[in-house]
């Protein structure tokens, strides 16, 4: 009985492994490169299988909402260029784990090209350099490692992140009838380099208005419920807050919902980031004043395209400063259409 139970348990535990192995689809005609015109196509038994390039795309955390458009772009690019793409990243954000994941794949020979959004420049730079020295082309996107041997960057650099945040905050402040009162910054991952830069930009803008009082940075957990609770408590404690500057895609919709539920949309101005479906709908409904998108789709797409062209056609990747987009209640319809959002 005991032996039977053990055998049954072993079989049950092996099943997921078998299922994972079968889930990888075999190369199909749609994804394999087509045979050049004029050549006689060979029978499946004799035709050599074209080996696809393996491009690894390492993001901050593949479960983060602002990474989803990049993931879609990477999948689209994989189909377009006929490459294998692995969209990976640590959960939760951890630069050391990000490094370890890439190392593991490289040591297994599974990286022909790497697109990475480094969580921390200092941690990832030495390994980016090592890969480059070993002939692996590396590009960065969303966040950069400018001193490293990466070939190109697609996104807004740290200086640009700070500048975008500065301009966004200023635009939001300009919506206030009187430029005075309390303001707060919301940041759910306060140790993430890119969000630190955004915060710096927001603070620089706030400092230009002497009658605005910056009371602090809040909502520090990457969880919608916790962000909502923190913003709710913040607004309860400080009913004289006139503006909130949300720096990421957790705090943005959470703060918008708090203002909606507390009927404060007319009194408090809110800016935020990342054009997720929910955030766009909140702009449409008047719960969010300005929403910035950094076009993660284009960042992800250009990264894969650049690596493909580098590996197959020896074209050197060139950095592209992907422009940020600004959605407001006045122009929201074009964004809803562009992002295929209906609600």
């Amino acid at each position: 009985m005991k032996t039977t139970a053990m055998l049954l348990a072993t079989v049950l535990f092996m099943l997921p492994l078998v299922a994972c192995g079968e889930s990888t689809p075999p190369p199909s005609e749609e994804t394999s490169p087509a045979a050049p015109a004029g050549e006689v196509s060979q029978t499946p038994e004799t035709e050599p299988e074209t080996e696809k390039l393996n491009i690894v795309v390492s993001f901050h955390d593949p479960t983060l909402p602002w990474g989803q458009p990049a993931k879609t772009a990477v999948e689209d690019a994989a189909k377009e260029f006929g490459v294998n793409v692995d969209f990976i990243g640590p959960t939760p954000t951890d630069p050391v784990k990000q490094l370890e994941q890439i190392k593991t794949l490289y040591e297994q020979g599974k990286i022909d090209g790497l697109a990475i959004a480094p969580l921390e420049d200092k941690t990832l730079r030495p390994y980016i350099d090592e890969l480059s020295d070993n002939g692996i082309p590396v590009v960065t996107f969303t966040t950069d490692s400018p001193e490293s041997k990466r070939l190109a960057f697609y996104g807004q650099g740290f200086e640009s992140l700070e500048t975008i945040a500065y301009e966004l905050t200023k635009k939001t402040i300009e919506l206030l009838p009187e430029k005075k009162g309390k303001v707060a910054i919301l940041n759910s991952i306060p140790d993430l380099e890119s969000l630190i830069k955004r915060e710096e930009g927001s603070k620089r803008a706030i400092a230009e208005y002497p009658d605005l009082e910056y009371i602090g940075t809040f909502a520090n957990k990457a969880d919608f419920q916790d962000c909502y609770a923190d913003v709710e408590a913040l607004m309860t404690a400080n009913p004289d807050i006139v503006a909130l500057f949300a720096e990421d895609s957790f705090t943005t919709p959470s703060a918008a919902k708090v203002l909606r539920d507390m009927n404060l949309n007319d009194k408090v101005k809110l800016s935020g980031y990342d054009m997720t479906e929910e955030a766009l709908l909140l702009v449409r409904d008047g719960n969010l004043d300005i929403l910035v998108g950094q076009n993660p789709y284009m960042q992800g797409y250009l990264s894969v395209k650049a690596l493909y062209e580098c590996l197959t056609e020896d074209i050197a990747p060139v950095s592209v400063e992907v422009e940020a987009e600004y959605a407001t209640p006045q122009n929201i319809d074009e964004f809803l259409q562009a992002y295929n959002v209906s609600g």
Binding site: Q225, A233, L281, G343
Partner: protein, 330 residues
Amino acid sequence: MEIQKLHKNRPKTNRKTLFSEFGILVAFILLTIFFTILNPKFASITNILNMGRQISTIGIIAIGMTFLIIGGNFDLSVGSMFALVSTISAVMMVNGVSVILALLLGILLGGLLGLVNGVLSTFGRIPSFVVGLGMLNVYRGAQLLITGAYPVVVGWVVDDPGIELFAFLGKGKLFGVIPMQLVLLLILWGIGYFILTKTVFGVWTFAVGGSPQAAKIAGISIGWVQTFGFVITGVLVAVSSLLQLSFIGSVSGQVGTGYELDCIAAVIIGGTKLDGGEGTLIGTFIGAAVMGAMRNGLVLLNVSAFWQTLIIGLVIILAVAIDKWTKKTN
């Protein structure tokens, strides 16, 4: 005869039990006074009701966790279970499944996941700590596989007769004042309290956690009692997750992360013994309230996020210490 003895000796809900929670209640009262002095808005009706709603997510799950820990087990997978249930229900809703049906299936799923954890921990003889660690990853992985890590938004699903009920349960207010999440927490707490203190199952739970050998001699089926504790937890996780789904209107790949630790903290702060056999739901409720008050109070005081993390950890230790010292004195 053995069962009668156990029933006679079970922890009673009376002045003695209430007094045994004196320690943690003292901690909660001190916290409340402290925050109110520094910011009177802490004690405003609006803020208290908001806090009540805020603690309901962890509070509901902590009811089940109390049963589990008293019975001698843990479930570290509740956060991932939370994510999986709300994801599956959300996916059903946005794909046209009736809201009511999606909710009922979600609750059923929670019970089934609890059953899996329970069977593995009891009849499978795998320590519940290990089962929880493993299933935490299994459920999270399943959730990510289903959604591809894309968030699922239900906040704008409108064409369904059940949507109003769903919205009311998560976002509505009883008499226009009391958040429904808090109402449901109190109802579920009451039901849990009754089961734990007034039923044979409650007696068995204490017996199994306090002395498995004695419970076995008394003829109690340890495996089924403990498994049922997991099922109760699973159902409560599902209820909590669906309430949050209604309130927030979406579910992301990150949801539920760390909830297991918050639940266990609430239960332990409330005085439930880690090695089983002793504990109360009154204590758990106060434990959840302590944690909610901490978080809320620090934000009201505009304390920086970095300090909040440090202070919450210190206060948890202090709250348990006050509880232990008070019990020792008594």
